[in-house]
Symmetry: C2
Subunit: 190 residues, 2 copies
């Protein structure tokens, strides 16, 4: 039996991102990552299926936080109100001091097509999960699907804005502004 | 030099979809498809890179039609007005007599993860192309990106509605209704 390493997944993730950013994703092996924090390749594969997996560590919990926060919204809240509550639930992931880390991570993703692909998947899955939760609350179609897709759009665009150079607004402020913009654009007011 | 076969790509596509629908995607080879319309496997690969490619034949032209129709919209039209003009440009693809064909094609896609994947890609690329065209018209950010994403959302949801059982409304009518719904949902009115 392999020994349990407290915080190993987080240490491996941090080391992986540093190596991907400096040396390149393709030039970094699982063994390189493990060795850089004094662990074995075998330990690496106890936590992650592959190198891509490391970049998205923690995102399942992230999706669950959105759903939990949606479930806590008032029963009579309109669909986008529930979405707003859901996105507020993940605001702690986007605290200001995490911006440099998120910027580095996104740079790694942008430079690798297979990571961009996986990211696009995760975002689409998030939209579907939001729509499922809205349907479970009794929201009909097409409102549930449209609100789920809009949640993914607003989250994706807000995140890219949050990590953009010179941006200093908080993540919740950006989300709120994007929602207003989306509403204005779809109403034909912009 | 191989001989040019008039309409070969369309014949191959139609034959491929029939075989995928009846025999299954994995159980059908490029040679099977070619033989069923009296052509060789070599001819098949002159038109298509692989089996998946056949299902999406004609979609590049489709994307170009949206962009052309957007370019013909009045210069002062708001972003979503330009999107509406773009989607109107592809309405001929969704004439009522094409519904059975589109239903069969979608059934094939839904049953195969790699086809669903490629479809998701095509839809995301369409959203990006729409946003690019809006930016080229001078639309600023985030309006261009939000309108591009919303175009992909409205198109995707409208198409699924158009092919759903018992649906009899025309594609343009469905698009128009989805746009109103999206506007109401993002405004918090639904």
């Amino acid at each position: 039996m392999a020994r349990w390493e407290p915080g190993a997944a987080e240490r491996l993730q941090r080391a992986a991102l540093e190596l991907f950013a400096t040396r390149g994703f393709d030039q970094t092996t699982a063994a390189d990552i493990a060795q850089s924090v004094g662990l074995t390749e075998r330990t690496f594969f106890r936590y992650f299926r592959d190198k891509r997996d490391v970049v998205f560590h923690g995102q399942d919990r992230f999706g669950q936080l959105i759903i939990d926060a949606m479930a806590a919204a008032p029963p009579d809240a309109p669909p986008m109100g529930v979405v707003v509550a859901g996105l507020a639930g993940i605001a702690p992931f986007f605290a200001d001091d995490r911006r440099p880390w998120s910027r580095m991570r996104q740079k790694v993703i942008n430079e690798n097509p297979s990571l961009r692909e996986r990211e696009r998947h995760k975002l689409a899955d998030m939209g579907s999960a939001v729509a499922d939760e809205l349907r479970a609350r009794g929201v009909g179609e097409p409102a549930a699907t449209l609100a789920g897709e809009s949640a993914a759009t607003v989250f994706g665009v807000s995140f890219m804005q949050w990590i953009s150079e010179d941006e200093e607004r908080s993540f919740p402020d950006i989300v709120s502004s994007m929602l207003s913009e989306l509403s204005a654009v779809t109403a034909g007011d912009r």
